[in-house]
């Protein structure tokens, strides 16, 4: 079913790391390093858009496309494949990674300290994330999942600010602990009777799926082992405490990548592995996911209200918005009837839109901090007059974040609520409160930062330069584009999620 070697995904995944190697060995001089890094990021953006554009959305199309499949570890004890392939679920996420990778490189233009090393880590990070989104072999998936830690750790601890070393270490320990649970889960899946493979395509196909017979760890245990790994990454309450620290102290580009794509790895893992490989357990524990989701949404929103640091504010709002992903997945918990793809599609859409929206917010905040040297909201004010481009970008991102129709956030939130309401009506209404609160903290933040009386010290601030404005424009176009024409993404997501929904319907109505 998934055989052959297309090569496009291999190129997409490994182009950045090859670029990093060339950077390390050949390129000299800070200027050349920057230009070369942009070239590589641009190349990878083009490749990822090719994947997105060439993905066959037709009805009769194969579920998995662009297959790159060779044997990695032959059948000796551990039997693993090098298998890169995409279906509708990961295609948009690949495009998102390409997009944000480009933005991150552009946002790093002003970095003047250990420049070469910085871009090397950034490019390695991009390879790792691309790898996570395209590997369909559990071992390979885990390999990329772990690979992502090192560059992120270095980016925060060397180029960060504030308590950067503490934050980097916290990020590292949380994630490693989470992946330790995941690793036990992967091993147990591999050893289950009749499995003996890490192939995720086989494991998420109904006929060859894991059954409860003869397992060393019961299915529910496996479900939670994977869940903890992904929940830490997402992050959901109560595993979220690393995120505000990591975000606050990370350099802008690292924040963009962290919020934009790294958190999405958690959501993607939940959809791909928890929902895709353990449908019966997802059905059984949907209520728990919704509870955690609603708590995250409300807790995140309430704590966000109290923040005075711009980056911390966005970090907590991320926790709130990522809670919606769990609520969307909770739509699986309908008691009877037919599950529709709506809720899951909302969860997947939320991953994409939050990636672009939060990416844009962090880019804008990075510019504000660069000019004013403060992120403390009470010290700011009236910046819109001096930085109109940044202010408009921030406003659009903020409005998308609170779900204004016509912007991308509206689509995903609507889908989540539509889907989840059928399964859990009251919790969904509670989660809706989170959106009301979002309107509060976003608008309040905008008002205190960009409007009102400008302090004299900010009179000679300059607006975003061309290089700085480019990623802003890129993101704004994406946000408005998806808001106006959501089918561009929802159709693709649906083609990947529909097979999962079919399996789930079989489980629900058994």
């Amino acid at each position: 079913m998934v055989e052959g070697y297309n090569g496009l995904l291999t190129a997409t995944v490994f182009l950045p790391v090859v670029g990093a190697l060339v950077l390390l060995l050949v390129v000299k001089g800070d200027r050349n390093v920057r230009n070369f890094a942009v070239l590589i990021a641009l190349g990878d953006l083009v490749l990822s858009l090719l994947v997105f554009g060439l993905f066959d959305r037709g009805d009769g199309a194969d579920r998995f496309q662009f297959v790159d499949h060779i044997t990695w570890i032959p059948d000796v004890g551990l039997n693993a494949d090098f298998l890169l392939t995409v279906d509708g679920l990961n295609t948009p996420l690949v495009a998102l990674t390409g997009l944000l990778g480009m933005c991150a490189v552009l946002a790093s233009w002003h970095i003047g300290f250990r420049v070469k090393e910085y871009f090397i880590w950034l490019l390695v990070l991009q390879t790792a994330v691309m790898g996570v989104f395209t590997s369909m072999d559990l071992l390979l998936f885990f390999l990329f999942w772990e690979l992502e830690l090192i560059p992120m750790f270095m980016l925060i601890s060397v180029w960060g600010s504030g308590r950067k070393e503490y934050s980097a270490m916290k990020f590292l320990i949380f994630t490693i602990l989470g992946s330790a649970f995941m690793l036990v889960g992967i091993v147990a899946v591999f050893l289950a009777p009749g499995v003996g493979t890490f192939n995720m395509v086989a494991l998420s196909t109904e006929a060859t799926m894991l059954t409860s017979a003869g397992l060393l760890i019961p299915l529910s245990g496996l479900f939670w082992l994977f869940f903890v790994g992904f929940a830490i990454k997402l992050p959901t309450w109560p595993f979220h405490t690393w995120l505000p620290d990591a975000h606050t102290d990370a350099p802008t580009a690292a924040s963009v990548m962290l919020a934009g794509v790294l958190l999405k790895m958690g959501g993607y893992g939940l959809l791909r592995i928890n929902v895709g490989m353990f449908p019966s357990q997802t059905d059984r524990f949907a209520w728990a996911l919704v509870v955690l989701g609603v708590v995250s949404v409300l807790y995140g929103a309430v704590v966000t209200m109290r923040q005075t640091d711009l980056k911390r504010l966005i970090a907590y709002s991320s926790i709130s918005h990522m809670g919606l992903v769990l609520v969307g997945i909770g739509s699986v918990g309908i008691a009877q009837g037919t599950l529709t793809v709506t809720g899951l599609n909302g969860a997947a859409m939320q991953l994409f839109t939050h990636g672009t929206v939060t990416g844009l917010l962090f880019l804008a905040v990075g510019l504000v901090y660069d000019r004013t040297h403060t992120r403390y909201i009470p010290d700011l004010g009236g910046l819109a007059g001096r930085m109109p481009v940044v202010a408009v970008a921030m406003l659009i991102a903020g409005l998308a974040s609170l779900g204004l129709p016509g912007l991308s956030g509206f689509v995903s939130e609507l889908l989540v609520f539509l889907g989840a309401f059928r399964a859990y009506d009251w919790p969904t209404v509670l989660a809706l409160l989170g959106i009301v609160l979002a309107a509060g903290y976003i608008l309040w933040m905008m008002e205190r930062t960009f409007f009102g009386v400008r302090r004299p010290a900010f009179d000679d601030l300059t607006d975003a330069s061309l290089v700085e404005a480019a990623p802003l424009v890129l993101m704004v176009v994406t946000i408005i584009g998806v808001g106006v024409w959501p089918a561009l993404l929802t159709d693709v997501f649906e083609s990947g999620l529909n097979p999962m929904v079919d399996v789930l319907n079989g489980v629900i109505n058994r």
């Binding site: 000796v76 090393e117 772990e146 490693i176 036990v184």
Partner: protein
């Protein structure tokens, strides 16, 4: 002894001969600087003989006895003292490779001991002879003699710097080794007293016939086997027999410590596997629990104490204890309790497979780390982790390689130890030791803290000096080779994995 017997033991003879050659050459060679290269070159002898035997073996289980392994009535002239099989050859390759790299990495280091260079290299080669013999020995007395042949040169090497720390370390190593040897010898005597043989094959048969309700069948065997395991525990640097490790690691010459932590450990594991699986297999369920306990203790003690270390070599001392723990998980995973009424132990090859793979991966990663430390410490003459501050600006490549090897020791992909840990924990889960696998995984996560702390110091803290750090080509070559092996085993583990499985097949009775 026939000519064939000489052929069978030729790798060991060649290794011992190489050591003698080095000593002789030391007498006549005017330029001592050439000694390391000569010591490297003479390794070709044992390597070629091992290679020839490897191809000669073909499908046979054992060179000495042809296809039928472990038939005790065989009137072999070597009296069944050694078994040259794939298992032994796997370790020959591993040990010869390690020695070659250690010799290369020592070229700079030995400059400051002008007078004793010949002795230094000869002792390393003698120790290696003992290690290779250990992996092949199938008889208790041979095991004991090989062990002493390994230990005595290592004790001398540990004390080689002739300063206070080094002498203290050498003394400690010698005394602890003597105690552990005594324990082991007492255990061997008890086992011999009960089974009436020193041959592992005969012992296995005698134990199989013992019927008793006590653990290990009867009390003489119980005490005997436990004492032997305790004796081996010292050599493996497993907790609770670990107290000599940090001092020796702190005091000994860096390349010697690298050699000790890799080759000596590999040889000790080889003999443990051989004794436990071919000699004492019928009571495997009893020693399995013991080994699992040692594994858990080593992982926990090694990792927890390593957290508070400020000297990089002491830290590696505790790190090696924790790795002994991980590897012991694989040893414990070699036994499964059977399904029958009698719950006879079943051999689970994946356990020893993973042990062999782990040893190879650990060798590559640990050697990389130690070679980097050798180059660094010879320039900054300090082993304090805080003195590694800003290393990334003083030599980015060196800092990068050391960082990669530290990450490898955590078990981060794409390095060999990631696959090795996965393999070992898979084996543990497969053999029903889920608790041990979970403990191991949690310990790996904990270990990230102290390894990454070093990386953090190197990359984020400002340098205390602007002086660049550099080394001569030979240590760099050793570093590069070890590093390449470390990454190779992570990206394409199939080759070593198959070799390990072939080797373990010789263990299965």
């Amino acid at each position: 002894m026939s000519v064939h017997d000489f052929y069978v033991i030729s790798p060991y003879l060649a290794m011992a001969g190489a050591a003698v050659l080095v000593i002789l050459l030391d007498l006549v060679l005017p330029k001592k600087g050439l000694l390391p290269y000569f010591s490297f070159a003479v390794l070709a002898g044992p390597f070629i003989m091992t290679l020839i035997q490897f191809y000669d073996l073909g499908g046979a289980a054992n060179l000495l006895r042809g296809a039928d392994a472990f038939t005790t009535e065989d009137p072999s002239i070597l009296l069944g003292a050694i078994s040259v099989d794939r298992f032994a050859l796997f370790f020959n390759f591993l040990i010869i490779g390690t020695v070659a790299l250690v010799v290369l990495a020592s070229t700079d280091y030995v400059r400051n001991m002008e007078r004793f260079q010949g002795e230094y290299f000869a002792l390393i080669l003698f120790a290696a002879t003992g290690m290779m013999l250990l992996a092949a020995a199938t008889e208790l007395i041979t095991i004991y003699v090989s062990l002493e042949l390994t230990t005595l040169p290592l004790a001398a090497l540990t004390a080689f710097l002739l300063n206070r720390n080094s002498s203290e370390a050498g003394m400690k190593f010698l005394i602890i080794s003597a105690i552990s040897s005594a324990l082991m010898l007492y255990g061997m005597a008890l086992v011999f007293g009960f089974t009436g043989s020193t041959q592992l094959a005969d012992i296995s048969i005698a134990i199989g016939q013992a019927t008793g309700d006590t653990p290990f069948g009867n009390y003489a065997l119980f005490v005997g086997i436990v004492l032997m395991i305790a004796g081996f525990g010292f050599k493996l640097s497993a907790a609770p027999f670990q107290m000599w490790v940090p001092d020796v690691y702190e005091g000994g010459p860096t390349p010697v410590v690298a050699f000790l932590s890799v080759a000596s450990k590999a040889a000790a594991f080889a003999v443990v596997l051989r004794v436990l699986f071919t000699g004492f297999f019928d009571v495997a369920l009893d020693w399995g629990i013991l080994i699992a306990g040692l594994a858990a203790a080593s992982m926990i003690i090694g990792n927890l104490v390593a957290i508070s270390q400020s000297n990089i070599r002491r830290l590696f001392g505790y790190s090696t204890i924790s790795h002994a723990g991980y590897i012991l998980v694989g040893v414990a995973a070699g036994v499964k309790s059977g399904d029958g009424i009698f719950k006879a132990p079943e051999f689970a090859a994946i356990g020893p497979d993973s042990v062999l793979f782990y040893l190879a991966a650990y060798a590559a990663a640990n050697l990389t780390a130690f070679f980097a430390i050798t180059i660094i410490s010879s320039k900054i003459s300090s082993d304090q982790i805080s003195d590694y501050a800003g290393l990334s600006t003083r030599n980015p490549l060196l800092a990068g390689v050391l960082a990669l090897s530290l990450l490898a020791l955590v078990g981060v992909p794409p390095t060999g130890i990631f696959i090795a840990k996965l393999y070992i924990f898979t084996a543990a889960v497969d053999s029903g030791l889920i608790w041990l696998a979970i403990l191991g995984v949690i310990n790996s996560a904990v270990s990230a803290y102290y390894y990454v702390r070093i990386i953090r110091v190197m990359f984020t803290e400002p340098a205390t000096s602007e002086v660049k750090i550099s080394g001569s080509p030979a240590p760099w070559l050793a570093l590069g080779l070890a590093g390449a092996a470390m990454v190779f085993m992570g990206i394409a583990p199939g080759f070593v994995m198959e070799a390990a499985q072939e080797a373990v097949r010789a263990l299965a009775v």
